[in-house]
Amino acid sequence: MQLIVYILKRFLQSIPLLFLVSIISFFIIRLSPVDPLGELRLNPSISQETLKAEQQRLGLDKPKIVQYGLWLKSFLKGDLGVTVTGEKVSVKLMERIPNTLLLTTVVILLTWLVGIPLGIYAALHWKEPVDRILTVVTSIGMAIPSFFFALLLLIFAVKTGWFPTGGMTSYNFSTLSPFHKVLNIAHHLVLPVIVLFTISLSGLQRQMRGNLLDVLGSDYVKFARAKGLSENKVVYKHALRNAINPMVTLLGFEFASLLSGAALTEYVFQYPGLGRLILEAVMKSDINLVMASLMMGTIMLVAGNLLADILLKLVDPRVSVN
């Protein structure tokens, strides 16, 4: 019961937040002197009716505040307008969002599966050669720019021919059997995942190591040791439980930085995700698409944080909404 109230409270808190974000981003985008329908007008395949409808929907002749109201109304109704090529924005987003979610979920799962054990291992072997080596490796992982690493992997892919050099599916994807379809996507995912994995692993491993080291130095762990508990029990039953809590909060941040990091990686690997979509939209000054994908990115981020908070509540019942 308490949990449900907590979830509800946190959920309600995020609504005004999204509202504020929409105001900020709307006015940032409208600051630009770009005509929101300029590109659309130039496209000969767009009919006059579509253009009229868009003009009506955005209320371009009215003051900015009214325009915002109109935008909000149609956004809530799920009508996001059309892109410069005349496709529906909502369709385009529905195509891309699952791809980005797939990429980030795989990366988060992998980093947790590898990063947490590595962090624990390094903390238990503090200042030993293994720990030193891991520190050096994570320093490198944190310093390498994602797009540069992606470029290096592309060279590798082209030279060896082991991996596809871009996209998410092969040209003959539609003819493959379901099983081979999965394999095909996985094959395309390898390189982008390696890039994002390397970068987020470093932060996670360091954080885990630091947390566990902090907890291992605390009084209750000393007490547990003094009681004569076995080292395994002290570490895994007593220390680890407290060291892992901050990591759950970090999950939300990790998701946020992955969304940002993925944009450049998606761009280099030509992966059809949300990050690349917004980049293309920005370059074509496709205002509808930019605004909608910015909002979607934010909603995903807020939802990610919400999820992390609920998880934290599950593992640590002391947490409450202030």
Binding site: I24, A143, P145, L151, L152, I155, S260, V282, T298
Partner: protein, 356 residues
């Protein structure tokens, strides 16, 4: 802890010392770029696009030591494969000249000079890291590009940190509804994926700006991304100290609110601020390079390490012209060095943390 002992401790750590030395070399390099670079930023030899790095010889064909010399590359067109290849043209040697006169420039922007550290005899070309599509010397452009890539982060800090401090200070000191409202706004900014916000802000810049204007606006944009999270921490610190006696004393002698915030509260947060500043330099460097890599940051003909990598986006280039990737290694080295120093400073100021 005073400043000297922090410095002394940095130099005790061998990683941090190496990092300081590396950064010193990089910054001296960009400071004296005009002198160190064989060519100017604008120099281009249109007949020598994508020339591989020049080879410098110190032993001549008879196996004897000689003054260092280089050969020019000659272009060959292979009609079967439709490929252009460059081969060394061994018919004529070009000796390197040290401290000789070359293209004129203004040393440190003030003193007109002509001498360059190393140039090559007339008609010879010395491209230590090859050339780009316009036949411009990559080595020289890396030095000039570093001026932008390595300073933009610091400039952005000088905007984002005062802004974040003041914002956090006001929010924390006033409290109540002001605090609530201000914090919701900074939360909202933090909820937008930062890179998305960055590219949108960069994209709404008008295209008809001079390079100086563009540079300054990119600085402002980078600063606008970073301040929100930082202001929340400052606000928390202000909240915890605002009820202390020295603040009440200042209030009772009638100091204005702004004065209390700036003179009494914010200086208390300074040690945190300095650490946070050192730790955030690399992220600004990475953001700028990412932005320029996409073509939304610093524009041609200006050089920055990010926009030099833009050419490496094409498969052909990265396969046959790997020297175009050189700026990427420099970004990596600079960021790594800043991170190492940041880790060490954090260790020193917070002895409980065990980053190392």
């Amino acid at each position: 802890m005073n400043k000297n002992s922090v410095l002394a401790q940095i130099f005790k750590d061998k990683y941090a010392t190496t990092a300081v030395v590396v950064l010193l070399i990089l910054y001296l390099g960009i400071l004296f770029a005009d002198f160190l670079a064989p060519y100017s930023k604008e120099f281009s030899d249109r007949h020598r696009a994508y020339v591989p790095p020049s080879k410098v010889f110190t032993i001549d064909e008879n196996g004897k030591f000689s003054r260092p010399y280089t050969y020019n590359y000659k272009r060959y067109f292979n009609p079967d494969e439709l490929k252009i290849t460059y081969k060394l043209d061994r018919s004529k040697k070009y000796y390197l000249k040290f401290f000789a006169k070359g293209e004129p420039y203004k040393f440190l922007g003030l003193i007109p000079m002509q001498r360059h550290l190393v140039t090559v005899e007339k008609e010879g070309r010395l491209f230590l890291l090859g050339t780009d599509i316009n036949g411009r010397d990559i080595f020289s452009r890396i030095l000039f590009g570093g001026r932008i890539s390595l300073t933009i982060g610091f400039l952005a800090l000088f905007i984002s940190f005062p802004l974040g401090m003041l914002y956090g200070g006001i929010s924390g000191y006033f409290g109540g509804i002001v605090d609530n409202l201000m914090m919701r706004v900074s939360e909202a900014i933090m909820s937008i994926p930062s890179f998305y916000l960055l590219i949108i802000l960069a994209a709404i810049l008008p295209s008809n700006m001079t390079s100086i204007q563009r540079f300054s606006l990119i600085v402002v944009i980078l600063a606008l991304i970073g301040w929100a999270g930082f202001s929340r921490v400052v606000r928390g610190m202000v909240l915890s100290i605002k009820n202390q006696e020295f603040v009440q004393a200042a209030e009772s002698i009638g100091a204005s609110k702004l004065r209390i915030i700036i003179k009494h509260l914010l200086p208390q947060t300074l040690s945190y601020v300095i650490v946070a500043m050192t730790l955030s330099v690399p992220s600004y460097i990475l953001s700028e390079s990412g932005l320029s890599f996409l073509g939304l940051g610093i524009q041609q003909p200006d050089a920055s390490w990010g926009n030099m990598l833009k050419e490496a986006q094409e498969y052909v280039n990265i396969i046959y012209r790997p020297w175009l990737l050189a700026p990427g290694f420099l970004i990596f080295i600079a960021v790594l060095s800043f991170n190492l120093i940041g880790d060490t400073i954090r260790d020193i100021l917070d002895p409980k943390s065990k980053v190392r």
